[in-house]
Symmetry: C2
Subunit: 328 residues, 2 copies
């Protein structure tokens, strides 16, 4: 019963992760200026946010520096330029980076000892069929001294039997948290319920937490996040103004307004949105719109909608619909 | 148990109401061109939508024709210019208009016999303290031959004891449906649950339906609408592209994508959005944004946010936040 959300009062165990720079980096190939990243970092500290994901630990070979910004690799010197000698103890904020399985990261080479890094946490992301590599990555990161999360992506297209296999492996892994990742923004409330309960059951007794990472294709990112919270999920992802590829993510400003823990402060979040995030809207397209809704409803990767929005008639929603219907 | 939502299959009793022209009329003082209204009407018919609310039956004296468009009064000749000799039987679509209590409508004079009108339904809107007039209006409309709904507005600022009084009166009224109206876009999932259950209990055995009318301040309009549906609510309001004052309404295109009744067609909705609704975005501001989020979180009428958005620095969200904090 202690895992049920108390209404009005709050659950101190509930922790918020800002992944603006990491997941938002899919919008601009991680080309954020140091000012933007510094603004987000300071806002996270001031707002009482628990985790900030500052980018990817992706392979410099596969994601070359002449095409991708520094937040795709999170080299120590790049991070320190922004966060100095960051200390989680002093700031209350744990810094994370994400490493992908599937050959997208050179984790053995690129993820060194935690004691030499400003990073506190490595989040390992994988598709269900990449779970074996993900487990090796988690073990490596644990040996290096990091707290770890396991983010199993595209869960809405993963069969229940496969989810169960992944969760059995996750239960024996070093991951502190296993995150429900609705990559395609396809999940409705009852499906969120089913998944969160499935994760909770599989992880029962391990001390691990369930996390929620939602996308906003159906304008349900915030709703699905609070649904997970109501069911006892204690780790939730959000981004400033929902910045993220396609329809974007759960907006941090809406989430903080829902949470009752007085440590969370809305004003620093609004300030950085206004000063650093809103200007990005002049250059990049993100947030709920009909093309992303259509891929979400069809449980598809948003890439076709993104390609359409970057095409010649980005507002011809009807043509995009007709194309999807014809593609079937 | 039959009131529980079946997942994948569908509930034939679940009916959808489009209130684009009525509620959207608060954005432009009901100055829609005949082409727009005709486009919406035809889309509703083609999409299998059950009800279309074509405007207000408001007082021509209090809402003068030199300031407000024809859809604020719904004179018979204006409606017929667009819908001809509309027949609910032939089209499957019932036409509705809304009449407000509180002296905003001259209902005795303006609402004549249903047999002489293209309207099938009158929706009576009131605040809880106006319930006595609303009941008289419902009786009048019943005598005139209309189906009626009762929309009790601003429910998130109405005390439970008052809600119960209103619901007792509603249970004995001619209204076929009593609608939960979240005027301020303030309700979270658990509050929607509480209200829908409260309405259902009060109306048990009367054969009346519970309706849901949501606003999108917290990006929860669609989520709260499907929550109500899951609990057995059989009448739901939506607008095309969420057109509506402030943060707007539950978007029809997202709702139809969720419903499993094969009679609903998405394409006509996308077509009218593209041809008639998207052009309105050049002239009018609606949809979720931070100022409307702030009034929603504070359970306030959106009018301060609307005034701010119409002011000199509409994107200075931080200033609006500081103003709200200072106003307390």
């Amino acid at each position: 019963m202690s895992r049920k959300a108390p209404w009005i009062t709050y659950r101190p165990e509930l922790k918020v992760l800002d992944c603006t720079i990491r997941d938002g980096g899919l919008v601009n190939d991680s080309h954020f200026s140091d000012d933007v990243v510094k603004g987000v970092y300071e806002a996270c500290v001031d707002a009482g946010i628990d985790y900030m994901e500052i980018g990817y630990k992706n392979s410099p070979e596969r994601f070359p520096a002449d095409k991708f910004g520094p937040w795709r690799h999170c080299h120590e010197e790049d991070m320190r330029r922004v966060v100095g000698d960051h200390s989680a103890e002093d700031t209350g904020l744990k810094l994370c980076a994400m490493a992908d399985a599937g050959g997208k990261s050179e984790w053995e080479k690129q993820i060194g000892p935690a004691k030499d890094s400003v990073l506190d946490v490595i989040r390992v992301a994988c598709y269900a069929n990449e779970i074996s590599e993900a487990l090796e990555m988690l073990e490596h990161c644990k040996e290096m001294g990091y707290e770890t999360f396991l983010n199993v992506m595209a869960i809405s297209v993963t069969a229940d039997a496969e989810i169960d296999t992944v969760l059995r492996a996750a239960a024996d892994s070093p991951a502190s948290t296993v995150v429900v990742v609705d990559s395609f923004g396809n999940l409705y409330r009852e499906q969120v319920d089913g998944l969160v309960r499935r994760y909770q059951k599989a992880l029962e007794g391990t001390g691990k937490e369930v996390g929620m990472h939602a996308h906003n294709n159906l304008q349900l990112a915030f709703a699905n996040t609070i649904e997970a919270i109501i069911l006892g999920c204690n780790r939730v992802d959000a981004t400033l103004m929902g910045l993220g590829r396609g329809a974007g993510n759960c907006p941090m400003e809406i989430l903080l307004g829902f949470l009752r823990n007085p440590k969370f402060q809305l004003r620093p979040v609004l300030k950085v949105i206004q000063e650093q995030i809103m200007p990005l809207r002049q250059q990049h397209d993100w947030g709920p719109s009909i093309p992303y809704m259509l891929t979400g409803q069809r449980n598809m990767h948003p890439r076709t909608a993104i390609a359409f929005r970057n095409g010649e008639a980005p507002d011809d929603y009807l043509a995009f619909y007709d194309q999807l219907v014809a593609d079937v």
